[in-house]
């Protein structure tokens, strides 16, 4: 039994061309876009593209950690909506207050998830589904079900506009730095390796004496924090806290993570590939927008949800094809 698993694994790792495939697809789509659309390579398109997708990259990063532990976080969308409202309320005090405040609120939801999953032993999807509900309700309560305009007088909205070091907007810079840090954490620290070990075998990790609960708690709190950051970027980018936003975000994040070659069952994953996955998904929408603009196709906003689902479906098909040479067991 063990040996057949080992056989599959070798094959899987050998076949782990998926990560490479993501990068190729990304580069391919960029070249396609550059050749087909005039404004594709314009500074405006690049900035707005990155600005919009910074949110999705952020939640994908958190989701990546959670999935690597073998869990799932369905609450990211609602938490982002909740924290966008918090950020909007805090915006008069400036970004220095609003950003940490909103991120902290996100971490709080992550802590609730972690508590339910670790201490109460609630299955992750139930726990995070419940948090999703609570965050949604909470967002509606504190906002009175209205969008909350931000204070344009403070430096809050500069997050998405003002450029850090004259290069890219702050929002993108922060997310890029976050990705870099998380990459380091995953590859170079005990915490990161424990996250992977937990996903690869929770019982085994416990018996090895690893701090399993700490790794899980960290992952869920990180995911909440990332959703918080996404909420800040959302509020700052759109000039308002959006209590009704975030529907389907968890799907985008899961899709990005899976595209990046992370196993849905945990234990294997990569931060750069997750970023690539999120960018790839964003690029698909970007190109669809251009096509819409050229009039070749006409897609309503509702198609977005359909396409997100279709994208995840395609990725899962791809991943199962790569890994499915497994002989049936039982």
């Amino acid at each position: 039994m063990l040996d057949t698993d080992a056989f599959d694994l070798r094959k899987y790792v050998a076949n782990n061309t998926q990560t490479t495939a993501v990068w190729f697809a990304l580069v391919g789509l960029i070249i396609f876009g550059l050749l087909r659309y005039d404004n594709f390579g314009s500074a405006y398109n690049i900035t707005s593209f990155l600005n919009y997708n910074a949110m999705f990259i952020a939640i994908s990063l958190g989701m990546c950690f959670v999935i690597m532990t073998g869990g799932i976080d369905l609450s990211v969308g609602s938490v982002a909506a909740f924290t966008s409202v918090i950020a909007a309320y805090l915006s008069p005090y400036g970004i220095e207050v609003a950003l940490p405040g909103a991120v902290l609120a996100g971490v709080g939801f992550g802590a609730i998830n972690g508590f339910c999953i670790i201490a109460m032993r609630i299955p992750p999807f139930i726990a995070t589904l419940v948090t999703m509900l609570a965050a949604k309700g909470g967002a509606l309560i504190i906002s009175g079900a209205e969008t909350i305009g931000v204070d344009w007088g403070s430096n809050f909205t500069k997050l998405g506009m003002e450029k850090a070091f004259g290069l890219l907007p702050w929002s993108i810079t922060i997310v890029a730095a976050l990705a870099l840090v998380l990459w380091l954490v995953l590859e170079k620290t005990s915490l990161g390796r424990t996250v992977l070990a937990v996903g690869g075998g929770e019982d085994a990790s416990t018996l090895m004496g690893l701090k399993v609960n700490r790794a899980k708690a960290f992952s869920y709190m990180l995911s909440g924090g990332c959703a918080g950051l996404a909420g800040v970027i959302l509020a700052s980018g759109f000039g308002a806290g959006q209590p009704l936003e975030g529907i389907g975000w968890e799907l985008s994040a899961i899709a990005a993570v899976v595209v990046g070659g992370t196993l849905l069952t945990g234990g294997l994953g990569s931060i750069p590939a997750t970023v690539a996955g999120a960018l790839l998904l964003g690029l698909v929408f970007n190109i669809l927008n251009f096509e819409n603009g050229r009039g070749t196709i006409s897609l309503s906003a509702y198609w977005q949800m359909v396409i997100r689902g279709g994208f995840l479906f395609a990725v899962i098909l791809f991943q199962t094809r790569v890994t499915s040479s497994r002989p049936k067991v039982g």
Partner: protein
């Protein structure tokens, strides 16, 4: 208990457990259990399934807490509450499969939790790889430590687990059935490692079902039965028979006189060919199986674990897809596409792992018993409940299944009775060929004898049985013929009467030797 008192005592025990008590929801698992292991000693812990070995070990390593009793480790009272604490205090456990992460690299599996760091934060992978390679080289293993652990054989994985233990400066290494999935050559490597641990002054607590191994590697042996320690013997001054008698709670002379099983010897009146397998392979460790089963015959499949016995059963029953070969059943070619098809043809398959592949714990005895029979119990999709109850009542009576009533959940039955329900599940389908994979594993002696006589009765009615068993006694006394498998090939065939445990062991060992010679 006498033998406990008269044990050859070691000077200063490394581990001293005395009067250990443990109950799970009121059911006692350990009652005044004791264990002494000296430093630098290889100490065996044996006992039947359910004797309390693993509970005792889990208490020693802090996985469970004890209800009563003293534990002293290296002279000091020990109150471990987690595996981590056990590790830190110098106790490492090599479980059968659980304690490594196959997806992660060999290095990670060795250094995890104790990684070499730079700036006390960042893992120094270069140093980690070097350390892993160095430790493995002590065991004479040279592999790519960056590759995922799961890409190596079970033997290597086990040695990596031991390497981890050694790297953590363990003073006691507990090995739980370490050889159950190793071949002879790998076992030899493992024994070499155990000996070098011993030379280094590390104590090894060795849990195994394979008694022969104990005589090769261990110094002393503690035997447990029904949650109690029943004897501690020096291996040099004991015999296999004595150990078996201790485990079973029987008298040595009784065993000599009666034999170990209740098959009543091979009195076969074999009939026509029932099943014929030619060159069957599944790519799943079954390479070339050629096998004939006549009606009225028990054909034993011998061989070590991993020799392809279970895989053979799975192929014949349509669980694994064939990649080659032909199967003929009752004269017509038929390779079942799935278990349902096999059942329709008249084949039954009692699986090896009762818990994982046999019982449906929350379902009643009745529902478990009729599960394979359902299609014939059904009229237009609706289950004939009256007939169902009749059939179940019949089998409960015939096999003497001890249950409060047929609607009692099967999980509440004892192992032996669960096994009888599963046997009834297959008998009820009235198969012509019954494949039995370790039919008496983990059941108590009484149930074991009953199950064996049921099998004999079934065969005497003119049906065929393929019997897979790791217990040589069961094969030798039960089977009319034994086909010996190795690496998924049939390597020899023995005929009863005339098979003894010795001839069987020889047949298995011989081909291993030949193989080594050829390689």
């Amino acid at each position: 208990m006498q033998s406990v008192a008269s044990q050859p005592h070691a000077a200063q025990p490394l581990v001293a457990m005395h009067g250990i008590e443990k109950a799970f929801s009121g059911v006692p698992a350990l009652q005044s259990a004791a264990l002494d292991v000296a430093a630098g000693e290889v100490h065996a812990l044996i006992g039947q399934n359910g004797a309390g070995k693993s509970t005792l070990i889990k208490i020693l390593t802090g996985v469970y807490s004890r209800d009563a009793g003293d534990i002293r480790f290296a002279g000091a009272a020990s109150h471990l509450t987690s595996p981590r604490e056990a590790q830190d205090s110098g106790i490492a456990t090599i479980y059968q499969e659980l304690n490594l992460v196959p997806l992660r690299s060999v290095t990670e599996n060795i250094v995890m939790g104790y990684e070499p760091k730079r700036l006390s934060v960042f893992i120094d992978w270069r140093e980690a790889h070097i350390r892993a390679r160095e430790i493995l080289s002590r065991f004479g293993i040279d592999i790519d430590v960056k590759a995922p652990l799961g890409s190596y054989s079970t033997a290597i994985q086990q040695l990596v687990a031991i390497a981890r233990a050694v790297s953590l400066k363990a003073r006691l290494v507990i090995m739980d059935e370490p050889t159950s999935s190793l071949d002879a050559q790998e076992v030899a490597v493992l024994f070499g490692v155990v000996r070098s641990l011993k030379e280094a002054g590390v104590a090894v607590l060795y849990v195994s079902h394979f008694l022969d191994e104990l005589f090769e590697i261990c110094d002393r042996v503690t035997t447990m039965r029904d949650g109690q320690t029943v004897s501690v013997r020096s291996i040099a001054q004991t015999s296999k028979l004595e150990l078996i008698a201790d485990m079973l709670g029987r008298n040595v002379d009784d065993i000599k006189a009666a034999g170990m099983t209740d098959f009543g010897g091979g009195t076969a009146k074999t009939g026509d060919v029932l099943l014929q397998a030619d060159g069957v392979s599944t790519g799943n460790r079954l390479r070339n199986l050629t096998l004939t089963v006549h009606s009225g015959e028990i054909v034993g499949l011998g061989g070590l674990l991993g020799s392809g016995r279970t895989e053979a059963a799975r192929a014949l029953f349509g669980v694994d897809t064939l990649t080659g070969g032909d199967i003929t059943f009752k004269g017509s070619p038929s390779a079942p596409a799935n278990p349902a098809a096999a059942i329709t043809q008249g084949i039954g398959y009692l699986t090896e792992d009762r818990k994982a592949e046999g019982i449906i714990p929350d379902m009643s005895v009745r529902e478990n018993l009729t599960l394979a029979l359902l299609p014939t119990l059904t009229i237009n999709g609706q289950i004939d409940r009256k007939r169902e109850r009749q059939i179940v009542a019949h089998y409960i009576d015939a096999l003497d299944i001890k249950a409060a009533d047929m609607d009692q959940p099967i999980r509440e039955l004892s192992g032996g009775n669960q096994q009888k329900v599963l046997l009834a599940r297959w008998l009820a389908t009235e198969p012509e060929l019954l494949i039995l994979d370790e039919p008496t594993r983990g059941v108590d002696v009484g149930a074991k004898l009953e199950i064996q006589s049921i099998i004999r009765y079934f065969v005497d009615k003119g049906f065929g049985v393929i019997l897979i068993s790791s217990e040589f006694e069961e094969l030798v006394e039960g089977a009319d013929r034994i086909v010996v498998l190795q690496d998924g090939y049939c390597v020899s065939e023995l005929h009863n009467p005339g098979i003894t445990e010795n001839t069987l062991v020889k047949a298995i060992a011989q081909h291993h030797q030949q193989n080594e010679g050829a390689a």
